[in-house]
């Protein structure tokens, strides 16, 4: 398998409005791929097409070497895990009973329940009824549900949107561990810090089209002015271009003990997105 996900010329039209105009990208095996964009940019539509919850109007989509018309098969479904806005839990049942159902549906051993509860930091909530859990706890159970059968590929739509920073960091560590074990992760998020910390490559989606694609480091370098931002002890802020002629100037500032801090210009993914699309990622 060359690519875990391959999308070519994807188009999706709802009532004569094109939610996705012409999207092409691929995801390599073992990669964490982030699809970033503001609300209404087509992220959820894309993830739904990739999981078989929506059909495409045009274009070719292949996931795990399976063509989109076979996304309804049991074999394909057992190879992927999904956490999306359509994911939900049985409110009257306990956390354990919810996870047990999905263990049995996916032919996973029941021991996985405790392993996953540990991964999402919810061991103490094992016997709690789901309706009594907070939004963040429910989100973590949904994540455990999506991963319980150790899928080859996981689709995560805003996985940490309802979580506090501590639990989000815990989930990030879990996802990195999962990825190190070979699972490919396809993630959509608004959170640029999350994307920077987790993703090997990201695609910026806006107006139904991919506006930019690459690794966070590559994009930050590409959109950097490469200048140095120097702050002196006299609270002076200097922007010095990265040119050979400026080397003496920087050396002199350091030699004179004037430099309080020195940083290279490294735009955040959010700043890059703003630069490309003119929009904030909210």
């Amino acid at each position: 398998m060359k690519h875990t996900i391959e999308v070519n010329g994807l188009r999706k039209v709802f009532d004569q409005n094109a939610a996705i105009k012409d999207v092409s990208f691929f995801v390599k095996p073992g990669e964490i791929f982030g699809l970033l964009g503001p609300s209404g940019s087509g992220k959820t539509t894309t993830i739904k097409i990739l999981t078989g919850e929506l059909g495409q109007t045009a274009g070719d989509v292949s996931v795990l070497d399976v063509n989109s018309h076979l996304f309804g098969t049991a074999d394909f479904r057992s190879r992927i895990g999904i956490l999306s806005d359509n994911s939900s839990l049985y409110e009257r049942l306990t956390v354990y009973d919810n996870l047990k159902l999905f263990c049995q549906l996916y032919d996973a051993p029941l021991e996985q329940i405790d392993v996953m509860l540990d991964e999402v930091n919810l061991k103490e909530a094992r016997s709690k009824v789901v309706s009594k859990l907070s939004k963040g706890m429910k989100q973590r159970v949904l994540l455990a549900k999506a991963l319980i059968h150790k899928p080859e590929l996981v689709f995560l739509d805003e996985p940490t949107s309802a979580l506090d920073p501590g639990n989000a960091a815990h989930i990030h560590r879990g996802l990195q561990k999962l990825n190190e074990a070979g699972t490919t992760i396809f993630i959509t998020t608004h959170d640029m810090e999350e994307a920077t910390a987790l993703c090997d490559r990201v695609a910026f989606l806006d107006k139904g089209e991919v506006q930019e694609l690459g690794s966070p480091d590559t994009l930050r370098y590409k959109y950097s002015t490469h200048a140095f931002h120097v702050e002196t002890f006299e609270d002076e802020r200097l922007v010095i271009e990265n040119e050979s002629g400026n080397a003496d100037k920087i050396r002199e500032l350091i030699a004179n003990g004037e430099v309080k801090s020195i940083q290279s210009d490294n735009p955040t993914l959010g700043q890059i997105f703003l630069k490309i699309t003119g929009k904030e990622l909210v």
Binding site: G52, S87, L89, R92, L101, Q104, L105
Partner: protein, 231 residues
């Protein structure tokens, strides 16, 4: 079809059913009705149309109503999508979800018929008729539950289903005359066909009920396919 997946859905539904007071009360309706009617029959027992009224109420208020509510709740709370996106097939989900309601319907029907007189149903033809009637109400319940998408809106469909298909024998009390168009149409309804079957011993009535059941199954299949995606 996968028995482990069917068993898992059944186990989940049974736990959920036992914690849902609204659904738990449903099987009591036909039993209470049967208890009241059992006092009316005297030594000769109840006439066949009255027995089928009990059967119709059982299948409409327990089978169709519970199934409708359970499917609409799964649809409304988006848990059904989780089942559909799992490796479970259409049959795994439908059979798994029908077992609890089937069990409750069987218990309610057995108790009700025991109270009003089970003898007329103790033959192959009547048993096949009851099974087909059960399947008709089951598929109707699943289909409407998938179609409505919320528990609140099921009540708008439940009453017509109960009155049209459950209480059909009551049309005789309206004294409309045999040539009346309403009587002619109602005579084709499943419960009326089964009453006719007892008079004529004809298998044609069974065939007509089977057509109703197949129609309801097709309706369920179409609604299921539509629920599977957001298209």
């Amino acid at each position: 079809m996968n028995t482990q997946r069917i068993g898992a859905i059944f186990e989940k539904d049974l736990k959920d059913f036992m914690k849902n007071m609204m659904l738990l009360m449903m099987p009591i309706i036909p039993i209470v009705l049967a208890l009241i009617y059992s006092r009316l029959g005297g030594d000769e027992g109840l006439p066949i149309p009255m027995l089928y009224l009990i059967v119709g109420v059982t299948f409409s208020s327990v089978t169709a109503s519970c199934m409708m509510t359970m499917m609409a709740e799964e649809n409304e709370k988006k848990t059904l999508r989780g089942l559909m996106l799992s490796p479970a097939s259409f049959l795994d989900i439908i059979i798994g979800k029908s077992l609890v309601v089937g069990l409750m319907s069987l218990v309610a029907l057995a108790i009700s018929l025991f109270l009003v007189g089970i003898e007329p149903f103790l033959n192959v033809q009547a048993t096949i008729g009851l099974i087909l009637l059960f399947l008709f109400f089951l598929f109707l319940g699943i289909g409407i539950g998938l179609f409505t998408k919320s528990i609140a809106s099921t009540s708008a469909y439940l009453m017509p289903v109960m009155f049209l298909f459950g209480f059909t024998p009551m049309i005789d009390f309206l004294v409309l005359g045999e040539d009346n168009i309403a009587i002619t149409i109602a005579d084709l309804f499943p419960v009326m066909q089964l009453i006719k079957m007892h008079d004529t011993n004809s298998w044609t009535s069974i065939g007509i009920v089977a057509i109703w059941a197949i129609g309801a199954a097709l309706f369920t299949y179409i609604c299921f396919k539509k629920s599977r995606t957001d298209d």
